[in-house]
């Protein structure tokens, strides 16, 4: 289906202030959408209360309103402009909520404005936890066992039925406030009371905690003709129990067999097709039991999100840009891949590299704050490393954190003993990845670490590999460091500064640089091209790596 030509003017709703729990992703998606719609010759009007964004720059939209994200502001815009359609899927939860509020008051209808990209029913089904559960059960898709309780006694009864560990999720609170894990019966009373008090309607969801299961996210696009494509599959390094925004994540999925992946893909496609009217970008999260490979659906977000912004960078596929075109009525098979310019936009990107995202926390600015990671997102941003191996990517990400880490291979001096470390890493905290490495350096086995953290052993093997390289480097000084080892270290993402610290004797990063330069160990540049080099790319971007 070609573009809907009755749309001459579109309103995009922004996401308001950037707060903890976001990573500027909605500025990115809103800007992309504004450009994408403008290039179709359609007038773009934009509302956002946050002037410190790129999307509110005058060149992004035809008209920008810096107004509070309230019903009155929307009505004012509709009075002053002839708006045909509103696109609410680019501004996160804030925009969707405002759009719903305006719809409930009949204001869109009054001004003859159509919702594009998504309809209200689809939003409800996806965002309301209880409706989502019922919808999944109706579709025969497994979800974690759960029950909604309105009183303390009811909550206790359900907790007995469901068993420990479990999660208490208060209804209608923002960002998971008042929720938490309950590991034993002793902690239940307090958690239940806290949850019920946090909820304005005195209601909590008592849910079975699938702690230790693996967590995956799929980023999808769907068009109005029901074509669906999986743009990116992201694997969480941290198992279930840590908010995905606070998890280290990896793309493509590293430990997923084809049978398990296709099960997820089919389930996600079924969910999207059953969602109702929807055209654009969507995120679906699953949890996988590593022993049986059964999966449960965790949530679906019918809008572009933090993870779609990451997936766009990870794959090169401009999700928000294409999602905006789909909202205008285009179908995927009509559009071109924006990177190759010759092949179709309807495809699933293939990666020949690994990306690792590490969240960035600012606990040092919030003295006294609980730095345990859990249901509520606490990070304030994220970094992404790209490499030709997981080891290279994770080292680059660590080097980008703007703390003292020179890489995963070297971070400060560890003060803890092996058994203390094993205890420490049981609780997810911001520095767990560094402490896992410390433990491995002290000779703790991969098996012990897997038992303590429930992190997939493949990742721990990879960190072990980095430890082995580090130990090997430590045997030498810069003068007698073998070139093969130096090359290997560079391929595993060790920075020159990191190597300089590891070798014995005094050494500067310049000395490492000079040594490898003289030996011809220099960077090569590889493309992020959406297609693993299968087709020629016209507008790719590049990352550096080391090859033979």
């Amino acid at each position: 289906m070609p573009k809907d030509n009755s749309i001459k003017s579109v309103l995009i709703i922004g996401s308001g202030p950037i707060v903890i729990g976001q990573a500027c992703e909605f500025d990115y998606s809103g800007s992309q959408a504004a450009r994408s719609i403008s290039e179709e010759g359609i007038k773009v009007t934009l509302i956002n209360s946050n002037p410190a964004t790129i999307m509110t720059d005058p060149m992004m939209a035809d008209k920008v309103y810096l107004l509070p994200l309230e019903v009155e502001s929307i009505e004012k815009i509709l009075q002053e402009n002839d708006i045909d359609a509103v696109l609410p899927t680019m501004g996160g939860q804030t925009a969707l909520n405002l759009c719903k509020e305006v719809a409930d008051l009949g204001i869109w209808e009054k001004y003859n404005v159509r919702l594009i990209g998504v309809d209200i029913k689809a939003i409800d089904k996806a965002e309301d936890r209880e409706l989502f559960r019922q919808w999944m059960i109706k579709m025969g898709i497994q979800v974690a066992p759960a029950k909604t309780a309105n009183s303390f006694l009811e909550g206790k009864e359900f907790a007995q039925e469901i068993g420990f560990p479990l999660v208490i999720r208060p209804s209608f609170t923002l960002g998971g406030t008042g929720g938490g894990f309950v590991h034993t019966k002793d902690d239940l009373d307090e958690a239940l009371n806290r949850g019920l008090e946090a909820s304005p309607i005195h209601e909590v969801l008592v849910e079975k905690a699938v702690l230790g299961w693996k967590e995956f996210e799929l980023e999808l696009l769907r068009d109005s003709a029901d074509n669906v494509a999986i743009i990116c599959t992201v694997e969480n390094f941290d198992p279930m129990g840590v908010h995905t925004g606070d998890s280290i994540t990896v793309a493509p999925a590293m430990t997923l067999s084809d049978t398990a992946f296709q099960l997820m893909r089919n389930t996600a496609i079924d969910m999207m097709r059953d969602l109702g009217n929807f055209a654009g970008g969507c995120n679906v999260q699953f949890s996988l039991n590593p022993e049986t490979e059964e999966i449960i659906a965790i949530e679906i977000n019918p809008r572009v999100s933090r993870s779609s912004a990451l997936a766009s960078k990870a794959t090169g596929y401009p999700i928000a840009k294409i999602a905006a075109k789909l909202a205008l009525g285009y179908t995927l098979d009509e559009l071109k891949n924006q990177i190759t310019k010759t092949t179709s936009a309807y495809f699933e990107p293939a990666l020949d590299y690994v990306i690792v995202k590490i969240p960035r926390w600012n606990f040092d600015k919030f003295k006294g704050a609980d730095d345990t990671l859990g249901l509520q997102m606490k990070s304030v941003g994220e970094v992404m490393g790209i490499g030709r191996s997981f080891t290279e990517a994770i080292q680059k990400a660590c080097q980008s954190l703007e703390n003292d880490a020179l890489g995963l291979g070297y971070y400060g001096k560890n003060q803890m003993k092996a058994d203390e470390l094993v205890e420490y890493i049981k609780i997810p905290k911001w520095d767990r990845i560094f402490r896992i490495k410390d433990a491995l350096m002290l000779g703790v086995t991969v098996k012990t670490i897997v038992q303590a953290t429930k992190i997939d052993r493949w990742f721990i093997y990879q960190i072990q590999l980095l430890c082995n390289v580090e130990k090997e480097i430590a045997k030498y000084s810069i003068d007698n460091l073998p070139l093969d080892l130096l090359k290997d270290a560079k391929k595993h993402g060790f920075s020159d500064a990191q190597i300089a610290k590891i070798v014995h004797g005094d050494c500067t990063d310049d000395q490492v640089y000079d040594k490898r330069k003289a030996a011809g160990i220099t960077r090569v540049y590889k493309m992020v091209d959406t297609c693993s080099a299968e087709f020629e790319a016209k507008t790719p971007y590049y990352y550096s790596s080391f090859e033979n």
């Binding site: 029901d226 493509p252 693993s532």
Partner: protein
């Protein structure tokens, strides 16, 4: 990473050399080089008989992460002749897995090379086209290896189906079923048969060199033409039998090689593609329904897109959205159709499984229309 640090080299027919580390069996192997962009399902790919005679580059940079598992195969043994990867992993993680990738490769005598700059290599193949190559981890005398490589025949004009077809007939499914499919095996993937039997069909799988009389003895309600390796134009015997099958006026379904043979039997030629299609992400548009599907592909030859349009007895039903190549056609007014890609897809997306339903329905309608058949 390989447990050995023994070096290995990859020599291409155009003289280009790539260096890496030995993995799998130590030795020397030759074949036609090709690349696969899929990010899951390496074991299924390695055991797919359509890859017979080929040395495969996996573009995905980590291969072997979840080990191997006895059931995740498309045939009894590994069919590729060599494997090229960036990071081939020995340490794996999967509860159900029973072997590491390297153990599995050694068991199947597959010489492999890790630590190769696969992206540079794939770019080279994309520009220069498919060619023969050699991997060696036991000989570094390039002049000797060049001589050995020069003696390897070109894929074009090569009949490989005879090497991978079943030696004996065998049956699968419920013998009481009234849907009986006579399968011609040119190198069939297990999951194709599973898709047929899961839908209630009883199948008998025949060696590629089987006479029409023998096929008819099975009293089939339909014929299936399988996938397979090599050049379809080199299998004259197969084109002949497909022509004979078409004269039976029964339902016929073909996949990959089967699709190419169906075209050849209708006097539409095939050609060798520049670098082929191998991956799990190829967009195909169904021109009948207007819907599109993401497909699994593995082919180095394709049906001539101009000649097929000149043949009024044929109608193109599926096209590739990337390059417009022919992905499927049917015979006008007859229950005979085929696709270039793999609707059974293991590995890969299940978007195209409806084609098996179409075939089952075609056989059912045909039976109802002609109850005496």
């Amino acid at each position: 990473m390989s447990s050995t640090s023994q070096s290995a080299l990859l020599l291409l027919a155009d003289g280009t050399i790539f260096h890496g580390k030995a993995f799998g069996k130590i030795g020397t192997t030759t074949g036609e080089i090709c690349f696969n962009t899929g990010m899951t399902g390496y074991q299924e790919v390695f055991t797919d008989p359509s890859y017979y005679g080929q040395i495969l580059i996996m573009n995905n940079v980590h291969i072997g992460n979840y080990g191997t598992k006895a059931e995740d195969v498309e045939s009894d043994t590994i069919k590729i002749k060599g494997l090229i990867g960036r990071n081939l992993e020995n340490n794996y993680s999967r509860y159900q897995a029973d072997k590491s990738l390297e153990e599995y490769l050694i068991l199947n005598n597959i010489v492999s090379i890790a630590d190769v700059d696969t992206r540079a290599l794939v770019t080279h193949i994309r520009n220069k086209g498919a060619m023969n190559c050699l991997i060696s981890s036991d000989n570094d005398n390039v002049e000797e290896l060049k001589k050995q490589l020069a003696a390897v025949p070109d894929m074009e004009g090569l009949d490989l189906t005879s090497e991978v077809t079943t030696k004996e007939e065998y049956e699968l499914g419920d013998p009481a079923s009234d849907l009986r499919v006579a399968v011609l095996d040119f190198g069939i993937k297990r999951n194709i048969l599973k898709n047929l039997t899961d839908r209630g069909a009883y199948v008998r799988v025949h060696p590629a060199h089987t006479s029409l009389d023998r096929l008819k003895e099975f009293n089939p309600t339909g014929y299936f033409l399988s996938n397979g390796p090599g050049d379809p134009a080199a299998t004259e015997y197969a084109v002949k039998i497909v022509k004979a099958i078409l004269e039976e006026q029964m339902p016929v379904f073909g996949i990959c090689m089967g699709h190419q043979l169906l075209a050849l039997a209708n006097d539409v030629p095939t050609y060798k593609m520049h670098a082929g299609h191998r991956g799990l992400n190829h967009p195909v548009k169904n021109t009948i329904t207007g819907l599109s599907e993401i497909s699994t592909q593995n082919h180095g030859f394709a049906v001539d897109p101009e000649k097929i349009k000149e043949n009024k007895a044929l109608e193109v039903t599926h096209i590739n959205l990337n390059d417009g190549s022919i992905e499927g056609f049917r015979m006008v007014g007859r229950p005979v159709f085929s696709v270039q890609y793999h609707p059974e897809a293991t590995p890969g997306p299940h978007d195209s499984r409806y084609l098996f339903d179409d075939f089952i329905n075609a056989m059912k309608s045909f039976k109802e229309a002609a109850p005496t058949a």
